[in-house]
Structure formats: C-alpha cells, structure tokens
C-alpha cells in the first residue's frame, strides 16, 4: 500500500513539474532558447495568486485565472524586452540574457517585498482525506491533478486545433518558411511565451495551495527540475514535457520512499546527466541528424 501512496505523492509533485516543463519545452521548440527565467515566472505567478487570495479575497479558481493572465502578460513583456532584440544573435547570448533576466526577477522581488516567506491561507481548498483501500488521498491533490490535466488538455487543443496553434507548429518547424507563408512570426513567438508563462503561473498557484510556503527564490529548484523533466521527455515536444514531469515526480518520491530523502535532488540531476549521455533526444524525441 505504501508504494501506491508514494505513487500518488509522486504524481501530485510531478504534475507541478509538468506544468512548468511545458513552458520550457514550448519556448525551446519555437525559438530554441532555454528560458531560465521561466522558474521565476512561476514564482511571480505564485505571489500574484497569494495577493489575489489574501488582498482581493478571491477563491481558488479566480485567483488561478488572474495569475495565469498576469503571468501571460509578464512572459510577453520579458520576451519583447529581453529576447526579441536578440532574435538574430547567437544562442549563447540569448541564454546568458535568460539567466540575467532570472536574476533580475528574483532580486527585484526581494528588493520590492523583502526575502521573507509568505504562507498561503489554509482554507482555500477543502482538505478532506479520502481512503481508497488503505491509501490516503487528499481531495486537494486530486483537484490539483485534475486542474493540471485539464490545462494540459486545453493546451493540446490550442496547439492542434486552433489557428495560433497551427502557426506555432509551423514556426517551430521552420521559422523562415513560415514567414514566407505569411505567418507573423513575432506574434506567434509572443503567443508561445504567453501560453507557456500562464501555465507557469497556474503551477505557481497550485504549488502555493499544495505546499503553502512561498518566497522569492522558490522558483529556482522547481525551475531546474522542470528543465530536467523537459529534457527527459524530449525538449521541444509537448507530450514529452508532461510525461517527463510526471516521471520525475514519481522518481523523486520513490527515492524518498527508499529512504534516500537527501538524495532526491541529486537523483533528479543524475537523471539529467544520464539522459544527456545516453538519450539526448529524450523519451519522445526522434533521432535527428545534427548539421555540422
């Protein structure tokens, strides 16, 4: 029974990783940039959620939506200000800028509100324990899982069934050709950032309601873990990010379950190293020939 309980723990954790990983993977898919500021968008989303719950007295879903909207705007701003001028620069220049933006957001947050932690109110979501064959499942973790899955389904719909999704796929496939076909590449890239960042915002609010404690540097570790998840699933591939996130969450829980709680973070990064050595294209990736 313990093992099933641990799987439940792992899936709850993994669904948060997956939501963040989606943003990484979408942005990478379209502009070939690892947006290291993504973990900090997640943090900002968590704080927007916190303030909208405590000051605006919103309940969970309105706070979630407000945070998603705020993060979408924030993500587009970051893209327009920091990344767009570097569209034709080397990839390493964009990567360094991403790290700079990340530090700017973290320290800006500390500058404006201080480094002290904040705790999400306890009563946003009802906390009932449901016993299924000796496995304790919190109603809250079910709801969180439900919200995550719903967001992923919406994302699949947007990417595959809408015009903007089609444009995103086209730009990701070949930006030059897409431009020649009359697709507005800049707007498509902004839309990608908006969607990815709103998912990070949602993850932030979910994280806050599930783990309570939020602080300005909270995005660093989940951001890195989500990056590992994205690479694990195959970076640039949307279903890969979902599976990678869930898998990583489950791996971490199982490591803790085996008594290696101090090894949990280490194992996540060992996974990254192993993937990069043996399967750099990730689980869902197709082996592409590199142009030299």
């Amino acid at each position: 029974m313990e093992i099933i309980q641990q799987l439940v723990n792992g899936i709850s954790l993994g669904s948060i990783y997956a939501l963040i990983a989606l943003g990484y993977t979408m942005v990478y898919g379209i502009v070939k940039l690892i947006n290291f500021a993504h973990g900090d968008v997640f943090m900002v989303g968590s704080f927007v959620g916190f303030y909208s719950i405590t000051f605006l007295h919103l309940s969970f879903f309105p706070a979630l939506i407000l945070s998603m909207v705020a993060c979408a705007v924030f993500g587009v701003l970051i893209e327009r200000i920091a990344y767009k001028p570097l569209r034709n620069a080397t990839r390493i220049a964009a990567l360094i800028t991403a790290i700079g933006v990340s530090l700017l957001i973290e320290n800006g947050m500390i500058f404006f509100r201080g480094a002290q932690l904040e705790a999400y109110p306890n009563d946003i979501l009802p906390t009932n324990k449901i016993d299924i064959l000796g496995v304790t499942v919190e109603s809250k973790s079910l709801l969180i899982l439900g919200v995550s899955v719903a967001l992923m389904i919406i994302l699949q719909f947007v990417v595959h069934k809408t015009k903007i999704g089609k444009a995103m796929r086209a730009v990701s496939h070949d930006a030059e050709a897409a431009k020649l076909m009359g697709i507005n590449v800049d707007n498509t890239i902004s839309a990608t950032f908006a969607i990815g960042s709103s998912l990070a915002g949602a993850a932030g609010v979910i994280f806050g309601t599930y783990y309570y404690k939020i602080e300005p540097l909270m995005g660093v570790i989940p951001g890195l873990k989500a990056f590992v998840a994205a690479v694990l699933g195959g970076i640039g591939i949307i279903p890969g990010a979902m599976v990678g996130g869930l898998l990583l969450g489950v791996i971490e829980s199982l490591v803790s379950a085996a008594g290696g709680s101090l090894w949990r973070d280490g194992v996540a990064f060992i996974v990254l190293i192993l993937i990069l050595i043996f399967m750099p294209q990730g689980i869902f990736g197709k082996n592409k020939r590199e142009k030299v």
Binding site: N9, L13, T136, Y211, G259, S261
Partner: protein
C-alpha cells in the same frame, strides 16, 4: 620653525588632555565605591535585534529591582553597547567595555556566534561574560577546553533533546519514535543525537531516522515512509520554516501521533504555515513559558508588563532578567573586594539559585543545570504543559 612651534602646541595640548583624562579616571574610581559598572553587549539593532532588545528589557527590569535594595550598599549600573548583530562589532564592544568603561562583568550577546567572538577577550582580560541565550556548547567549552570566564544562563542545545526524550517516554508513553532531522543545521543534528541516546536509554526504540534540507518544500514522500513504520511519536528538531510545512503535510498524510520539536519552532510564522488544526498534539521544549503558573514566573510577568506597557515577556526577556540576577548574586557573594576575579569565582560556585527560568546550579562546564519547560500547541496558542527537570 613654524612646524616646531605647532608641534609644541600639540604636545602641550596632549599633555593637558592626558592630565584631564587622568582626572576623569580618578573620579570614575571614586564613583566606583558607590556604583558597580556592568556591561551589556547586545544585539540592539540588526538581524536579531528582537533577541537583544528583549534581553535588555529583562536585564534592565531586574537591575531596577536589585537597585531598590542595593548590593552591600552599592548600586549596579548598566553600560550598554549595541553590537548591531555582528560578531566583529561584538568583539569591538567587549574591547570598549573592558578597556574604556572598565566594567566588572559583561552580559554577553544573544547568539552563540556573537558571544564566541568575545570569549578570547574575556579570558585574556579576566572579565566574566555571561550570555543569556547562547545555547551552543562551544560557547563555554571550546575545543574541549573550559573558557574560565564565560558563563551562560540558558541550557545547552543537546539538553533539549534529552528533555524531549524523557517527556515522550514518561509523559506520553511512547515506545517507538521517528526522528526527522534538518541535515543542514548542526543545531538539529545535535538535538537529534541527544534525543536518540536518551530515548533508547529509556527503553524506547527509534524506528527510523529521516532527513531533509533547509528550503525543501515537499516532505510527503518521506512522511509516507515514516507513517508506514508506525511510530508512536515523531521528533523534529528543526526551524519553523520547514517544520511548519512538515507538520502540515504530516497531518494531511494522516499522521496523527504527537510531534515534538524545540525552541527553533518558536515563531508566529509556524502557526501561519501549519495552521492551528495541524498543530494540535504538538509540543516544544523551551526555556520558559509566560503561562507557567509558578508564583515566581507570574510575579515576573506582572512586573514586566507593568514596566513595558503590557508587553508579554518572551523567553529572551526572562533569560535576560535571570542573567542580571545571576550576576548580582555573584557580586553579592564576591566578598569584601568586588573584583572581576572574585565575581568569576562566585559565578562558578552558584548553587540552587531560584530564578524565573528555574532553579539554577552551575556545573563544571559553566552550564546551568536547570529545568526545561514543555509547551503544547492548543488552538494555535502555546500552552504551558509541564516542567521537566534534568
């Protein structure tokens, strides 16, 4: 020529200044027969200013009471120095208090680190330093060697682990325990080690020892593991930030056994993070409780609230108050000639002194042998549970 003249003027000026300074120190000397100077080197500003402020308020109240009667016809005068919560400043403060103010003894800093910065100076100049709340064993015994001139009013870290073990086996009837350690803190490891030793000495068994790191947020997997071992009791000697999350997540994972911690839990943020429902059936060890029905404590609380406009004295204030009494008692017993050396001897020989934070005997390591207070969380409030003697 001109420069020589100037030099002459400077020379004579400095001579005059020297004479004047001499006069000053003379008058200070004659004053000393009426007033005994003691120093307070405290964190009045900076990161842990609330600790230093509380200690100062406690000590100040105690001195007021002591000076009503006086000590052998003399008054105690407190010279305070703000070390800004920094070790370097604490060292500067000790230098100033010893060399310029020529105090008889110093009420040392709130944290172990800042007190440790003054240890060498105290030993070298033979001026006793008493820290009210520096709990690290290192403060009085550094590298296995006793610091002759350093004392403390609080118990040391490992003692809280022993008290928690005794409380869990004797009062809660626990036979099996799980320990969940903050692996990034020596404080936590020290408490856990002494808890384990005493718990096993009392016939209990520790079924699992788990660890986390500061800033971790997800504890559910480890808690599930702890739950499967079915302990009667869980000991978490950590700081409030993570402990709040652990307690919350433990209750959500269906762990309802008693959970216990130490003074690292003592913060309003704990309640904010964990919530009052999750904190039910949790306990902490602490130095003192303002809710303790003991007459001595209640009269202290009353006097403190009268002095500071209804403010409730925390553990720091109580220990600051006790530190002043501990020192005053030693000055009283120092004999005819009140010197730093005699005070040191009297401090080291203190026995069965009744203070607010318990009866008080100094052991060979200059640590007090005294009781610890156990508090229970009830509806989010700390409630006095019991007192455990060593």
């Amino acid at each position: 020529m001109k420069t020589k003249k100037l030099a002459g003027i400077f020379l004579s000026l400095s001579l005059v200044a020297g004479v004047l300074a001499g006069c000053n120190s003379d008058s200070a000397g004659s004053n000393a027969s009426e007033e005994l100077l003691i120093g307070a080197n405290l964190e009045l500003t900076g990161g842990v200013a609330s600790y230093g402020q509380s200690i100062y308020e406690g000590a100040n109240l105690a001195l007021k009471e002591i000076n009503k009667k006086g000590i052998n016809g003399k008054q105690l005068k407190l010279v305070k120095y703000d070390n800004k919560s920094e070790a370097q400043e604490a060292m500067n403060g000790a230098l100033k208090l010893i060399n310029q103010d020529k105090v008889l003894a110093i009420i040392g800093s709130a944290t172990s680190t800042n007190t440790l910065a003054q240890v060498a100076l105290a030993n070298k100049n033979q001026v006793p330093i008493i820290t009210a709340t520096g709990t690290s064993p290192e403060v009085t015994v550094t590298n296995g060697k006793l610091n002759e001139y350093v004392f403390r009013t609080c118990f040391i870290d490992p003692f809280q682990g022993t008290v928690a073990a005794n409380f869990s086996t004797k009062n809660l009837g626990a036979k099996t325990a799980a320990i969940y350690i903050d692996n990034s803190s020596d404080y936590s490891k020290g408490l856990a080690a002494s808890f384990k030793e005493s718990f096993e000495a009392n016939g209990g068994s520790v079924v699992t020892e788990e660890a986390y790191l500061q800033k971790d947020t997800d504890f559910r997997a480890t808690l599930t593991r702890i739950k499967s071992k079915k302990p009667d009791f869980i000991y978490i000697p950590g700081y409030y930030e993570e402990v709040g999350l652990i307690v919350k997540q433990a209750r959500e994972s269906g762990i309802d056994v008693p959970i216990m911690g130490a003074d690292g839990w003592d913060s309003p943020k704990l309640l904010e993070i964990a919530g009052k429902d999750a904190l039910a059936n949790t306990f902490i060890t602490n130095h003192y409780s303002s809710g303790d029905p003991d007459v001595k404590i209640q009269s202290f609380v009353e006097a403190f609230q009268k002095e500071y406009k209804g403010k409730k004295p925390d553990a720091f204030a109580a220990l600051g108050y006790d530190t002043a009494y501990f020192l005053a008692e030693a000055i009283k017993n120092a004999g005819e000639e009140v010197t730093s050396e005699n005070i040191q001897k009297a401090l080291a020989e203190t026995k069965n002194l009744q203070l607010v934070s318990g009866s008080f005997t100094i052991d060979e390591n200059h640590n007090p042998i005294k009781s610890a207070t156990i508090l229970r969380y009830e509806k989010g409030e700390q409630v006095f549970e019991t007192k455990v003697n060593p």
